[in-house]
Structures are given as C-alpha cells and as structure tokens.
Symmetry: C2
Subunit: 240 residues, 2 copies
DNA sequence: CGGTCAGTTGAGAACTTTCAACATGGGTGG
DNA sequence: CCACCCATGTTGAAAGTTCTCAACTGACCG
C-alpha cells in the first residue's frame, strides 16, 4: 500500500532496498480507515503524528464561519501530511476524506529514525515538501488569474501527472472520485458552474468523462488550453 | 537591518545573544540593492543562495504566457526565501521588487553552519517555514472563497500583523508601499476593482488611507468584516 | 511645460452565482 | 421485488460580481 510513496519519491531519486524497506516498515504501524466526509484531523486539534494517505482521496480544507468551504489541496495516495507539523501547537485547517480513505499514522520517532538513518529518503522528502509548496503556489495563480475552464483544466492536468507518478493512471485515464461540488470547493467555483465548465471541456474534446472515469485524449492540448506548465512539479530527477 | 528577522523569530522562541550574533553575522555577507520592478531571481534560474529581505517589499510572482500576472506572496523585511530551494534545480516562479529592496545573500554553507550550531534558530526557522506555508494556504482560501472587500480586508489584516511582528507598524498604522495594480495582481482582481473596494472599506470606516499610510482604526472590526482568524499565523509562542 | 505614472470614474460587457426545478441512479425498507 | 429516498448531476433564467475600456485627474520629474 505504501508503494505509492516509494514510487513518488522514486521520481526524484533512486532509493535503495534498505530505503524501501524502511518506508514499508514505517507504514506498518497503526492504520486507520475512514468514510467520506469524516475528518482525519480538525482545525484546532494538536497534531501528534504524520499521516500518510495509502488509499483514497482526502483534502485539506477550511470552513468559514458562514459555511463557505474551500478545499486547499488534494491529498492523493502516497501523500504525506507535512512532516514538521509537530512544531506547531494546533492545526490551522482540517483534513478530511473525500472518498473512503486508508491512512497510516507515522510517529515522530519513526520519522526521526528514518531521517537519521536514510539520508536519501530525507532528501527525497525535502523535495516532496518543496513540490507540495510549489503546488500550493500554483493554486494561488490558478484561483487568482485563470478563468473557470482554464482553472479546471489545469487541475485535471495536475492530478493526472500526480497520479501517474504514483502509478494510478491507466493510459490516458484516471478515476476522478470526487463530486462536482468538491471540485467547486477546490476551484473557488459553484458546483453549477463546475458542471457547465466540464461540459465545455467535453464539448471541446479536451476531456472525456464517463461516470467517474476521466480521460484526457490529448494531454498536450489540455495543457495548452489551460496554460499549464509542469515545471512546478519538478519532475526532472534533480536528486542523486 | 537584519533585526527584522531576529524580531520575527523572537515571536516564536527566545534567542540567545549567541543566536542573535550568528544571524547578524550571516547577514553581514553580500548585500544587494535593486529598484522596483527588477527581479531578485527569475523563473527558470538556478537558485544558489537564500535571500533575506532587509528593507523594502518584494513578491513572488508568476506571469502567464498571455501577460496575466499573479503575485503569489509578499516578501516583507525579515522574510527569507525558502531555506531549502537548492534541492530544486530551477525556480518555478520569479521574485521581484515592488519597492526599492535591499537584501542579503546567505550562502548554503553559512546556513548549514547556523543550523548545525544553533538549534534554536533551526527550530525557529522551521516554525517560520510552516507559517509561510500556512499563509499560502490562507491565500488559497482568500482567493477562492472571499469576495473582494473581505479579500482585501483580510490581506490588510495579515500584513498588519506580519509587519507588527517585525516592528514596522506605528500604532494602528503602517506604510503600504505598493500600487493598487500590485494589490490587484495579488488578490486576483483588476486594479479598477481594487480602487472601488478600497473606497468601500474607507466608506465603512474600516480603514483610513492617506497616501501610502494605511490606518486600521479598529483591527477587530476589520478582522470580523473580513472573516479573518489569525490562528494560521501561529503567534502563540509554541517554541522553547 | 510636457510626459509619465498612479489613482479615479462611468458604463457596458463578461463571467459566475443563486435559485429552483427536474433527471438519474444506487441503496434501503417494506 | 417494488417504492421511496437521497445524493449527485443537469438545466434555465435572473441577479450579482467583477472586468474591460476609455476618459480624466493629480502629482511628480526632468
């Protein structure tokens, strides 16, 4: 199950068998499973360990007093919830499940041990943290300066590449297991407008959506239409 | 000049004289000064050292092919450009000056030395990095789910608290040295709409703007109107 | 004094939201 | 097995927000 993380980090550096075993062992600990709409951790709570998504989609989100909800980022299989949270006293946002989610709880001690004994993993985790920050910055651009169709197209490109990195795409397709309302909460749009924007993208032939299966027949075309530049995902194998 | 950084970190932990001296020494190296609209570093370039803003306002920004520009974050005196950039091969965004800016270039070696010898600084820098990430997340919420007046009000609250943390406020006021166009590029709004929104905030008595001096007569009122919750700035002195 | 930049204003256009109704499909209880 | 329920997706139309364009003002500078 934690092969997703191994595979993700493998995009940046070459992990040894010992590195791989260490990751597998770290994920062997406590494991939890929750239903959609349940929270992994809530704003205001004190984080005690680092969570690794093993299966399903979760999200960071914030809810305003009057009920408006914004999804801040998607957490896909292989994603870690920041490795340094315990420096802070309390969460400033919540993490919730969008689908049934299985995740592992990794203790601070386990993480420290890995960091001490596996410099390559440490380095890869630094890369992962920087990419995560870059994704958040790109979302700022997305929400600030792209119109609905570009914005949604951009997200679909980003998710395709992220899922491909952990082996969860099939050809040009992947499973998009979230509702249109979720997409709206992530893109700062209403669910009605998401619906119409999806139709627009379908109408242009940029995507094919059958139930929950999304196909991007021509990734380059969708990227161009969405002003998507993958440089921020830093897939160039900087490591080693 | 680098007292701003010392003061900022002092919000989180108590630095020793030796810690303070180490920071001052680190900033004693190469120092550069640039004019507004010039870049400190450009997208695609290879970052070789960490920059510390000593004076003036800079910003991270991205420009789309068709010229649309989004400011991703403001860099204020005392702000460091991420301490781990050198893990990546190239910048995925640019950093540019909004006013005349003085900054120090801190080499990777210097930073490593500080990290090795001053655990309290290291810890405080971790806190600073987490707060920076939290700010970026909050901007996602801001752009996604707040209307113009709330959005701008939220930014003005955030900047007030950040500037106060480095000693750059005077009573209820601070200098807002950027143009309305800059504010628009940061908030995902047109400069025309920024202008009207500022008038709206002034009309409600939430802000007073005389030239470049901004006064927030009643911070709590502006916070309430903007749905601003300062928890994400993590000022609770978690450290020690 | 002319030029440039930042700020201001008005009006129409474009984009997005809201509301309300309806369609579809899977799951549950009778 | 069917009826019903509920969540999700779809559609239309009006309302609201924000943008664009274009003109104009004021301040500063050479």
């Amino acid at each position: 199950m934690s092969e997703h993380l191994i595979r993700k980090l493998g995009q940046f550096t070459t992990l040894s068998d010992s590195d791989r075993d260490a990751i597998l062992a770290a994920c062997g600990g406590k494991r939890r499973r929750i239903d959609p709409r349940e929270d992994i951790i809530r704003e205001g709570e004190n984080p005690t360990h680092v969570n690794l998504i093993l299966d399903g989609w979760a999200c960071r989100y914030k809810q305003l007093r009057d009920g408006r909800r914004q999804i801040i980022s998607f957490l896909l299989p292989g994603d870690l919830c920041d490795t340094h949270v315990y420096v802070l006293r309390e969460m400033d946002h919540s993490i919730g499940a969008l689908t049934p989610v299985t995740f592992a709880e990794i203790s601070r001690e386990t993480l420290n041990r890995i960091t001490a004994e596996h410099p390559r993993i440490t380095h890869a985790l630094e890369w992962d943290a920087l990419v995560t920050a870059a994704i958040q910055r790109e979302w700022t651009v997305n929400l600030g300066r792209r119109i609905a169709a570009e914005r949604l197209g951009h997200l679909l490109c980003e998710i395709f590449i992220r899922l491909r990195g952990v082996g969860l795409t099939e050809g040009h397709s992947y499973i998009l297991p979230v509702t249109q309302a979720d997409l709206g909460n992530a893109m700062g749009l209403s669910s009605v407008h998401i619906n119409r924007t999806l139709q627009e993208l379908r109408g242009c032939g940029l995507i094919v959506l059958k139930g929950r299966q999304l196909t991007i027949p021509n990734l380059a075309a969708l990227q161009t239409a969405s002003l998507f530049n993958p440089n921020y995902l830093h897939l160039g194998r900087g490591g080693r």
